[in-house]
Amino acid sequence: MRTEAGRYPGRRLAAILRRRPRLRLTLLLTAPLLWLTVLYLGSLTVLFVSAFWTTDSFTSQVVKVWSTDNFHALLTTPVHRQVVLRSVVVALAVTVLCAVLAFPVAFYTARVAPPRRRPLLVAAILTPLWASYLVKVYAWRLILSEGGLADWMLAPFGLRGPGYGLPATVLTLTYLWLPYMILPLHTALEQVPDGLLDASADLGARPGRTFRSVVLPLVLPSAAAGSVFTFSLSLGDYITVQIVGGKTQLIGNLVYSHIDLDLPMAAALGTVPVAVIVLYLLAIRRTGALDNL
């Protein structure tokens, strides 16, 4: 006669694991913890440390001597300061545009559209994420090219497309990251209980008032959560700007151009977006958005 354990090979293991919660936890978390500490925190540490090294200008060899020269250069070189400022402004502009565009879309998909059609609409919003990033950016390059779709559509109004440059970069990045803003807003709007809207109307609030005093405050944390994505993705981008940005430079391009010649300087430049995003997250935390991520 076969035993119970014989019939289900996994059963003995399951029994052992049930009796030893610590072993269970170890097996479960070892891989992700290794990933987090070695790959993620490890590379970040290397980045920070190497930012304090320098490069010998004759031999182009990295000199592993502690120095704050790179950060000094970063703060005093006008070009660098300008590029950092420009990158932050671009990221903020993309975030604001995404929020403004995403809200009506999310409001429609979450509250206006018939409930049965909502999953389909959400899927439709997600489909652009399945297409390759480069394909989408090149598509925008075509749209914005001279005599392209943008020019053609604006011609009847006596206008022209923005061409390549900073506005084109903002426009393209907004298109790329818009789903990351729509999704959290959709979820938040969907979760606003109908009862609260009834209660507000019941107490004498017209729809506009209800929107300002009840709906908006309730979805604001989710908009902030979405902005973490749009802001950080925009701040780190250097490909889009190369394709549709004309001569515009962002932090990413600076890092890229320094990598071969002056690796420590590239590392120092690379810490800037990290620092900016940490500051941004600290600011965002005050809205309570991070509790919802």
């Binding site: 609260l196 009834d198 209660a199 507000s200 109307a201 019941d202 609030a205 005093s213 309730l218």
Partner: protein
């Protein structure tokens, strides 16, 4: 002279194929504590939502204090609601929740804060103003919802199963408080409930709702003592329903009758001569249920039929009542307590 707070005329509302409200005429007086009592799905909540303005009727007319409001939005009606799940705004403090209606009506800040505190004191929640609703217990949230709806002193206060989520002890306590509060503020309260005990305890008048219609309107005593239909008799309290041959034999004439179990006395079969206004029947005790304060007897009548009788345990104890099972008894009740129902 009492005015009419709410008048409903020929009100109908359907959702798809189902008629939630199928023709309701009703008048609720000023300053009255009025209950809409019915089982779930009877349409009582839809009726409330029609009065509040969250739904628009397919047909019929709604008047508030003599003014037609049938097509007005909720924010244009002088009616506030206490919602079943309270619907407190989670992003506002208790004080801000209570003051919301005043803020919307552009009452100056100092005044609305003072009135919000006053309203919180009315529901015995002084000192809770700065808390968030999620830091409160169910009973406290219920009071906040009440304060929020009362602070604007509406013409009518609607309460949608307000005590449903509370435990029994708290519910009974709130019933007393709610009734006292209503007397104090003098506002018309319209309560929706499926709990007949709650409706009987608190209401000045009750409308029993059955499948989208009003089955009976009256004071708690009228509803309980003189049920107009078999539905009312069985839904409000427990009732013996007699019909057909049994009814004919016992009551003396054919028809459907309702007799409340507590009106029936259980006596020994040999019990003495009956008064002329009494009706009696003999039978065998089929079941005895000891309830602590009372005992329920289920008696199979000679010649068919079954009656339930409820006796206060004045002198008997659980051991005594158990001995009754299988014994012969005589049931006796006053003829006027056998209420004839329309067939």
């Amino acid at each position: 002279m009492e005015g009419i707070a709410i008048r409903l005329q020929g009100l109908r509302k359907s959702f798809g194929e189902t008629a939630a409200v199928a023709g309701v005429d009703l008048e609720i007086r000023d300053g009255e504590f009025f209950s809409l009592l019915g089982p779930s799905g009877s349409g009582k909540t839809t009726l409330l939502r029609l009065i509040a303005g969250f739904e628009t009727p397919d047909q019929g007319r709604i008047e508030l204090a003599g003014q037609e409001v049938t097509d007005l939005a909720p924010y244009e009606r002088d009616v506030h609601t206490v919602f079943q799940d309270y619907a407190l705004f989670p992003h506002m403090t208790v004080e801000q929740n209570v003051a919301y209606g005043l803020r919307v009506r552009k009452v100056p800040k100092a005044e609305r804060l003072a009135r919000a505190r006053e309203a919180l004191a009315e529901v015995r929640l002084e000192g809770y103003g700065r808390r968030r609703p999620d830091r409160l217990s169910g009973g406290q949230r219920q009071r906040v919802a009440l304060a929020r709806a009362l602070v604007g002193r509406p013409r009518v206060l609607l309460l949608d199963e307000p005590l449903g989520a509370l435990d029994l002890r708290l519910r009974q306590q709130m019933q007393v408080e709610l009734k006292a509060l209503q007397r104090e503020v003098g506002i018309t309260f319209v309560l929706v409930t499926h709990d007949q005990q709650e409706a009987l305890t608190m209401s000045d008048r009750i409308a029993v709702v059955d499948r989208g219609r009003i089955a009976q309107t009256g004071t708690p005593a009228e509803i309980y003592e003189r049920p107009a239909t078999a539905f009312v008799a069985s839904f409000v309290g427990v009732s013996n329903l007699l019909d057909g041959e049994t009814a004919h034999r016992i009551a003396g004439s054919p028809g459907t009758y309702s007799i409340r179990p507590e009106k029936i006395r259980v006596l020994r079969e040999s019990a003495g001569p009956d008064e002329p206004e009494h009706a009696t029947a003999t039978g065998t005790v089929a079941e005895v249920v000891y309830l602590g304060d009372a005992t329920r007897f289920v008696v199979d009548l000679d010649g068919g039929g079954r009656l339930t009788a409820l006796q206060q345990n004045l002198e008997t104890s659980s051991a005594d009542v158990a001995a009754y099972r299988g014994s012969r008894v005589r049931l006796r009740w006053h003829r006027r307590h056998a209420v004839r129902l329309p067939s």
